[in-house]
Symmetry: C5
Subunit: 259 residues, 5 copies
């Protein structure tokens, strides 16, 4: 069997990752408050919350990563300021990410963008270098740009998942389609590449988010890369506990919410 | 005589390749069902169906290639999502493809695209590296973009074939013109570069597809790279058997369809 | 604790830098007079004025840097002549900057520009090379281009600061928001990356400028990179003295202005 | 005196080259028939016709070059399909061309194209590498693109010739101006770089073509790179014989046409 | 004191260079006649005319440079044919220029062009390589493109000069502002980088040109890079003699014109 480079991020084949690159992707004022603007708060939440991995840009990893949770370094990034077709290019070498302790590197591909070719090519190189260095290559794949009508349709999400497989990603981070049945098509399309749901913006209720996660797990996914729904939560560790119950113990949403 | 790098993919000078990069090129929802979305199903069909080669992107090869059939790794690729002039760039190094066991690498050139120059140049480099490493360089050549009126005219298909010859491709994968006589002009234009018909979308009847293949072989081509007409078929192995009869035994379409 | 590559530019954790790349960025006729067009005048003012660092392009450093004040070499630059979306590319290698005695390299990123991706990627490479060579990587980050409405809003300045943190800058040079409370949000966003206010055009009164600097220091910033407000000043050393009182001694603006 | 890298292609300082890259540049259906679509036919005509050199793309050289005539490998190329400003990029390395036996490499520059800068730069690199490897760098220089009104005016053809000289080409291949006097200005502009007329499309009569060649030689040029006027001719060897009489023996057109 | 890489081109701190890259930049028909189209004529004029340097593209240097006058090789270049924003890219490596005997390399930057960033970056690399190899890096700096209203205003010419200083040019070649006082501002802006006036088109009278040169020298410049006003002159050596009197002996224009 193929070596599982995702093993550092899994427990019994499931995984719960804490994502924290929103400071670059969305800006601090959109997503952060006085508490979660501090990467130290996030690092601590990742450890105490039982996360299997934490996702940082290199600058945050350099200053705040403490080794208590396996590290994924995002190696490309952009702000949300420029208009036009999205393009996110490599800002961190794989060598540097590994030197920071990363067991995986993350790269975002905007599928359907007029710049898609450049990102596919760049990920192609990064995937090979990551594997030469023995770490996982994880693809964040989001259909985006003028050519995309609906980025969470069953077809589009499966296309994202499949692209990750075809390019040799160890895992893909994709959006939820909205229901477990359609999401299972994406899991099938990934054909063994690990599927993580991208958490997205904070939902109005905890229940709403946990229902998504439940659907994701029922669809056969590996887990979740969550950010705002944890660190914007009043009680991040309580939300983390609920998520663990759904992801690792297969509990119902109601059981997960129980005190 | 020139070393034939295509030899691994030939039997008595003919070849039948199973192509399976549609997950990236078209998306899983357009071409796949619950059965053929699984690369393992394809790998098995390739072996049992007596194919002389199988075409995968690197990610699929990494997870599913089992060595039972010679491997061609597609080293560029794109989705069908972006609008504008087509461009497909290298996503897999030749070195990596060879490390996966490939005896050939495939590269798509969109002739006539506003980005043609970039693809010609990239294929030029890949061809030389493939030959240095002792594997075949196979060009998928499709006229496409605003400048192309009819991509299956006799003239256009011959232009595609000739481009492969001029750039040193060991083989070209081109579309069928619709009749054997006009396709033979493309075979002449290839002037020794092996010509494989690109199978295209599933035809309404088996007979229709086999007629195409018969015409291709009568035109002097080497064979066929087929995907959907096999793995979308209810009985892929039966279709494979029919194809073998036409390609290797020179049977008529009626003989090929006989039980 | 993380090694502080900014240490050469700090005294008790505060720093006052003299910036002098306006000859390239704005042209000599816009900012210079017969006195300050001479880089030798600036080098002398930096030393006598007690500055903790001086910022030159490589050409000025090659001819005028005398080692009396720590050196930052700007490694990209542009004129203000071309229209269109701003782009500033690397014009000096990190290796060369270090050979000139630089303890830090500066790089400008125009956040929100249509060319943002190219500058983020280039800074990403420069940051790693700077750190390999043991010098600081300092990001000048200015939101600019058609997508930017207000480049000194609290949100935009904090976004600039955060981008520096995420990309691993040792320090960021950003514009002032206009008040200390909103600027403190940028300092928080930087999360440990040193924050220097960009001095900007000469203010009408010394008091006005010192009030800005006071606000910056109250917000928790590290200091100031000042150019025109010092070397366009009738008495640069007197202004430098006033700045030192605010930055290092925490004096009030009135105390700083006292003879 | 400067080493003459063109010596392999000259006899008594004159040269007659057989060009055969039209399969890529124009497509096989525009220029070829059942006979001349076969590169073997061309290779044989080159040898029997007493040509001093033959021009192939690498793919044709790999399969058909037999060493009987000195080889020039065209190292860039394009199809005539894309619209827009012309660009032709390197598709064959100089190293590879030399490994095929080439004593010269050819590169096309579209002077005046919006992409001119890229081709000038690429030829600049190729020229140096060719010379390092001891082979000639030959520039095909054609003014083309929206900025060009008349590509065969005295001024434009001389500009093409001069560009070759300035960039260090050993020889230039340029179009005929239409008369010997004006063409001699181009020869002067080349200032020692060897001038070859580009043969162009087949003329209506042999006489018409030979008159051109006569004018070219009278202008002091080195010779001719001819394609269609030879291999589209009913009797290629007879045309070759006529050309030799004009080029090497200085005969009149009537003498050249005599049986 | 800083090593003066311009020393080979100076006599008592002044210099007179003969420029001859107009064959590429303007085309032979615009500037040349039967005499000066011959680079041998120029090489001889440079030696006999007492010039301190001669400026050639590599191709001309390869064929005609005889070592009698120090050599500057222009390492970028373009034709005047393409419309749009000007871009001139590297066509000769510094290594190659040095192998031809060059003691300096020249590079043109079109300040204000939409492609300015590419030229600044390329010059930045060339400057460092030239200095590593011990030769001067000389910047031809011309404001040009849609953003430029007046390329010879005091402000624009000083901006050009300053850009050369900032990027580490040993010398700049800039246009004359029209009077000595305003040109002296450019000399100040250059702050030690040697300033050479770009000779420009042939003036109607010798007196007119010598007045310009007189103004340039009074402004404190190092000298002149002249082309057309010498080699389009009926008596190039006589004009050279006049120029020497102004540049090296400080004579008046009338004295310079005396027989």
């Amino acid at each position: 069997m193929k070596q599982d480079r995702m093993a550092p991020f899994l427990k019994n084949g499931k995984g719960m990752l804490l994502a924290y690159d929103q400071g670059l992707e969305h800006g601090p004022s959109k997503d952060f408050d006085d508490r979660n603007i501090d990467p130290g708060f996030i690092m601590e939440a990742a450890a105490k919350g039982g996360f299997n991995g934490v996702v940082f840009q290199k600058g945050v990893a350099e200053r705040f990563y403490d080794g208590k949770v396996p590290l994924i370094v995002k190696v490309n990034g952009k702000t949300n300021l420029p208009g036009g077709e999205p393009i996110s290019r490599q800002v961190c070498s794989v060598e540097h990410a590994v030197s920071l302790g990363a067991k995986g590197v993350g790269y975002t591909i905007y599928l359907g963008s007029a710049h898609e070719a450049e990102m596919l090519a760049e990920f192609g190189r990064i995937q090979e270098e990551a594997h030469r260095r023995g770490v996982a290559a994880i693809a964040w794949i989001y259909p985006r740009g003028a050519s995309i009508q609906n980025d969470v349709s069953k077809e589009m999400v499966a296309y994202a998942a499949r692209t990750g497989l075809e390019l040799g990603a160890d895992a893909v981070k994709i959006k939820y389609t909205g229901d477990s049945v359609s999401f299972s098509w994406a899991v099938k399309a990934a054909a063994g590449a690990r599927v993580f749901m991208s958490g997205g913006p904070k939902t109005q209720t905890d229940e709403a988010f946990l229902e998504q996660v439940k659907g994701v797990m029922e669809a056969g996914a590996t887990g979740l890369a969550v950010g705002r729904n944890v660190w914007q939560h009043k009680e991040p560790l309580r939300m983390a506990e609920s998520l663990r119950r759904v992801i690792f113990e297969g509990r119902s949403v109601q059981e997960a919410l129980a005190p």
